[in-house]
């Protein structure tokens, strides 16, 4: 799935898997999904879980503020120079799919300024169920939904639910309160996704982000192999 072609010239273009000096660039993973499903919380948890073993950075795509970036800064999940916010002009899905230039610039600046990175997480501003990341921007994508958004979302499908490399069904701790049927969500997700993985997660629970962090480690091992 990785595009391995490279271009000549001073700066990398989009999907190039190598840096100017020929070494393999950072793995980029996109996190998309509806507003409020837990993307930023998952990014924060991933940073805490992985920052001691990996060199990582985050790009946020806020819809009209810098709130996600500011949350991550406030929580001090990473040093400030490793967190960048992209402005999306009222169209968050455009910035991650149809016109990825600002995000590519952010990614490139992070690599230039922080030095060699292993992993860059790109969070989408979040809008609807059809928003997916361009392959020119990320190497793998995670789609985050939650149990409170309605347990029929996996059944309804859509490109995010159906094709993301990993589907996270977040906030399982809330299922009893909102009357969501987790078994049904799992069966529907399986029907939509076949063999593609699904993680049911509660960031309030003890396991937290562990399963997703393991998935990221496996992707990274495959990327650098």
């Amino acid at each position: 799935m990785h595009l391995d072609h490279s271009h000549d010239g001073p700066t990398a273009l989009s999907a190039d898997a190598h840096r100017k000096d020929g070494t393999r660039r950072a793995l980029r993973i996109g996190l998309g999904g509806p507003v409020g499903s837990g993307k930023t919380a998952t990014v924060a948890a991933l940073c805490r879980a992985l920052r001691d073993e990996l060199s990582l950075a985050v790009v946020t795509n806020d819809i009209y503020t810098r709130e996600d970036a500011e949350f991550l800064l406030r929580e001090a999940v990473l040093p400030p120079e490793r967190i960048t916010a992209v402005e999306t002009g009222a169209c968050p899905h455009t910035a991650i799919r149809d016109d990825i230039s600002a995000n590519l610039e952010a990614v490139e600046d992070l690599e230039d300024e922080v030095g060699s990175l292993d992993l860059i997480l790109v969070e989408s501003g979040g809008d609807n169920l059809t928003a997916t990341f361009s392959k020119g921007l990320v190497d793998a994508q995670i789609f985050v939904i939650d149990v409170a958004g309605g347990d029929d979302i996996p059944r309804k499908g859509g490109p995010g639910v159906t094709t993301a490399d990993l589907l996270i069904v977040n906030k399982t701790d809330l299922a009893p309160y909102v009357g969501s049927d987790l078994a049904r969500m799992a069966a529907d997700a399986k029907a939509q996704r076949g063999e593609l993985p699904v993680v049911f997660q509660s960031l309030r629970g003890e396991a937290g982000v562990t399963a997703v962090a393991d998935w990221v480690r496996a992707r990274l091992a495959a990327w650098t192999a």
Partner: protein, 224 residues
Amino acid sequence: MSRAALLVLADGRFPAGGHAHSGGAEAAVKAGRITGAESLESFCRGRLYTAGLVSSALATAAVLGVDPRQLDEAADARTPSPALRVAARKLGRQLLRAARATWPSPELDALAGQFPKGAHQPVVLGLTARAAGLEPVDAAYCAAYESVSGPASATVRLLSLDPFDATAVLARLAPELDRVATRAVEAARTAVEEGVDALPSASAPLLEIGAELHAAWPVRLFAS
């Protein structure tokens, strides 16, 4: 050369980052200077004859082979607002990325080497037109059109303006786009002989002031 390349370059969907910028429209909407189709038209006309003419001439001069470094300095000198300079360089860098992938050329690679953080967008636009095999006048039109199409589509989002009305505004401005492009080509040809000081320096103080205010807002939809 293929004239059709102009359609590719001027297409609003050309992935060069423009969608995140309003060309000053967001600040003008907030200040009550754009409230509907009529005031959008006045705003676009003002931008066309000032920032639009300057951009158009810069882009044309780049196609004609004027040194990009000098053009970039000329653009700086014609852009008092630091926020607008930052935005123009950002957009230039993003356009350069898209252009190098779309029309690979040693000249564009060299430009990226010379300006790793981006040159003013019209300068990059001119060299992109050159790489695409277009004529100077094509770049003039492209820059002039962008100076009004950006604010028009941003206003559709900002005011929920009827998209047909916004498009009609652009259509009504077409004869004036012709005029501005013609003037830009003349000025650029003069600049080839006499240097970049011959390029137009029309400016719109409210656009500059609006951009500075806008850059300081904590909450906004567009980057500029």
